[in-house]
């Protein structure tokens, strides 16, 4: 009997511990839920940075992901008179939070963005807000170069024939986020450009430099240049567009450089000079002109273009390194040493060249502002 009593006591203790753990878990879930609700409230009230900073400070994103799926829809429905306002605020908050944790946690946010996108599409969102939201999400996916997530496995360029999934193969698991956006806004040139740029990511396998390519399986693909040429064809219809024409030319110039066609790259980059496209795009055009001119063995003109780029964005690292490395190699050592010594003193935060491979991510600061401005009140 004594042994039975002991077993009962032991079971009782275990039950008590389990109950305590369940209470603690429930309390933690309630606290996390309350925190998310408070953050969404703060964002709705226009305290954007505070809300995002608090949410981004969480060490473990696992509980947040669960809370988002369970509690964000409930928070949206909590005020029936302002469902669309809240839906928009929640969607914008998620993108800003994704940006705050983008470098390390893109993979944890991608499915939440798509979850929110579905919710947004099934609601009745303000059109200008929805458009701004899609552009902002495109920018973030650009930093991650999430081609499959944006376009899916069987993506084609606008001028290409559709590709079909082979019979018997598994369905494409990718959400094709950008294609949903294009269904909603088929005439938006920004999204159209984004589609072509995203299509190029990884298409040429983009081998790392300084690898011995003889051993690289992608070598024949790299040498063919076929995907880059297709992308150039796809970009051509956009070059006359007043919104994205300049950037389309910059993308063409970059592709031409990767095809070892510096003369064609120069023609494309030089056309940007007569167009409007913002400082970042004009900076890139100067930089690409300079690179093309270097390859064409016209170093003096290349130096002029690097200098022009630095007039647009003083102290920008890429043009500084381009210019000084050219000076250094041309026996203008003193000037190169003097300039590069100042490189780290007063450098702008954003260097478009460092971001050019990340699609429209270089536009994130502007597009975030537009996203906030488009939030329905």
């Amino acid at each position: 009997m004594g042994a039975v009593d002991r077993n009962h006591r032991l079971l009782g203790r275990l039950a008590a511990i389990a109950a305590l753990f369940a209470c603690w878990s429930a309390a933690a879930a309630i606290a996390q839920s309350a925190a998310l609700t408070a953050q969404l409230d703060a964002y709705l009230q226009g305290r954007y940075d505070d809300a995002v900073r608090q949410a981004a400070s969480v060490a473990d994103l696992g509980p947040f992901r669960l809370r988002w799926v369970q509690d964000a829809p409930a928070w949206i429905r909590a005020d029936p008179a302002a469902v669309e306002v809240r839906r928009a605020a929640a969607a914008a908050f998620l993108l800003e939070l994704t940006h705050a944790r983008l470098e390390s946690d893109w993979g944890r946010f991608a499915d939440l963005i798509e979850f929110t996108c579905v919710d947004l599409r099934h609601g009745n969102p303000d059109r200008s807000f929805e458009n701004a939201w899609h552009r902002a999400s495109l920018a973030l996916a650009g930093r991650a170069r999430a081609r499959l997530w944006l376009l899916g496995e069987y993506a084609v360029l606008p001028h290409q024939k559709p590709r079909r999934r082979p019979p018997g193969s598994k369905p494409d698991p990718n959400p094709q986020h950008l294609m949903h956006a294009l269904e909603r806004f088929p005439d938006d040139p920004t999204l159209q450009l984004g589609r072509i740029v995203a299509w190029t990511w990884g298409r040429d396998e983009e081998p790392m430099r300084n690898l011995r390519l003889r051993d690289d399986e992608s070598w024949p693909m790299v040498r063919s240049g076929s995907p880059q040429r297709e992308a150039v064809v796809a970009l051509q219809p956009l070059v006359e567009d007043s919104t994205v024409g300049a950037e389309a030319l910059v993308r063409i110039a970059q592709l031409q450089l990767s095809l070892a066609q510096p003369a064609a790259a120069l023609v494309a980059a030089e056309r940007v000079g007569r167009m409007t496209g913002g400082n970042n795009v004009r900076y890139l055009a100067h930089l690409l002109s300079a690179r093309a001119l270097e390859l064409l063995n016209r170093p003096a003109e290349a130096a002029e273009r690097y200098t022009a780029a630095l007039e647009l964005i003083p102290g920008a690292e890429s043009a500084t390194i381009g210019l000084t490395s050219l000076q250094f190699a041309r026996d203008d050592r003193e000037r190169a040493l003097e300039t590069v010594a100042r490189l780290f003193e007063n450098r702008p935060v954003l260097d478009p060249w460092r971001l050019v491979g990340y699609g429209s991510f270089m536009h994130w600061p502007q597009w975030r502002s537009e996203l906030r401005a488009a939030l329905p009140r």
């Binding site: 991650a144 300084n210 003889r214 690292e317 890429s318 490395s325 040493l337």
Partner: protein
């Protein structure tokens, strides 16, 4: 180490021969860094008369030889891009260990890379290293740009510049390319040693991936070639203690290497000068020297 075409006073006296113009170039000083080993042991007992130096195959008179005593400017370049980000904590410990090996009269700086080339530790006296704020930024890997920045440094008179790069050597997104880095090294006085460290598989699972600019499209390891050209070399190691030990070996060898100075005579001033150094009396010695320089 080579003091490259310093105060290049090109006294181009043109002597005309029947067939072609012969330029007599007078460069103030060219300095060539030379390490001599017997097996794996540095040989530190040689004098000027023991060396033979050829500039574009023309024998030169060595005017001065120094060893050991000169203070160093040491640039340590650590690749903190996504490809090596998993080793960040080990990197920090390694930096502290490496800085601790330097002498008080030496100077030290630390370059890292993320979305830009960063100077985590600007030039400062060795031994004053404070807390490090290094962070890993996944994505591009600006190895070439960092090396370009590293080469664009001129030590003050009487000092030597040693660059040690801890990287997997895989460049993505740099503005300059491999040939430019190689060319710049021929115009710099620095000696580059590349410690090849690889950390595949340590990148965080959910972080963003790398992207790369088009290939150099040649079957050339530009970093290895650059290191060899400067009189340095390529060493395979691992992050952490092994890399620190490799650095210690490089530093010891560098301190015990010779600097031969000469004024080039009988050679054209401009263009690439191929330099060859020998120890004729001891052909079994392994002699490693800068392989040349660009004259102006």
């Amino acid at each position: 180490m080579m003091r490259l075409v310093v105060l290049l006073t090109v006294l181009l006296s043109v002597a005309t021969s029947a067939q072609q113009s012969v330029f007599r170039a007078k460069t103030e000083v060219v300095a060539i860094s030379v390490s001599v080993k017997r097996g794996n042991a540095p040989v530190g007992t040689l004098a000027t008369k023991d060396f033979a130096l050829f500039d574009n195959d023309i024998a030169q008179t060595i005017e001065a030889l120094t060893i050991e005593s000169v203070p160093l400017d040491v640039t340590l370049f650590m690749d903190t891009s996504g490809s090596t980000a998993g080793a960040l904590d080990r990197m920090k410990r390694s930096v502290a260990s490496i800085a601790g090996m330097l002498r008080p009269e030496d100077r030290f700086r630390l370059l890292t890379i993320g979305l830009a080339v960063e100077t985590v530790v600007p030039w400062q006296s060795a031994g004053r290293l404070g807390p490090l704020t290094m962070q890993a930024v996944p994505g591009i890997s600006l190895v070439y740009d960092a090396l370009a920045v590293a080469f664009m440094h001129e030590p003050t008179s009487g000092r030597r510049h040693l660059i040690v790069a801890l990287t997997d050597g895989e460049d993505c997104g740099s503005l300059v390319d491999g040939p430019r880095v190689l060319e710049m090294s021929g115009r710099s006085e620095a000696v580059l040693h590349w410690i090849l460290v690889s950390n595949s598989g340590d990148s965080p699972e959910y972080s963003i991936p790398a992207w790369c600019t088009p290939s150099d499209a040649e079957d050339v390891d530009y970093i290895e070639r650059t290191a060899d050209q400067t009189g340095g070399g390529k060493h395979r190691s691992r992050f952490g203690d092994p890399a620190v030990r490799t650095f210690a070996q490089i530093l010891d060898e560098f301190r015990r290497s010779y600097v031969l100075r000469y004024s080039p005579t009988g050679v054209a001033g401009r263009g690439w000068h191929r330099v060859r150094v020998e120890v004729p009396a001891n052909p079994a010695y392994t002699v490693k020297a800068r392989s040349g320089y660009f004259g102006s």
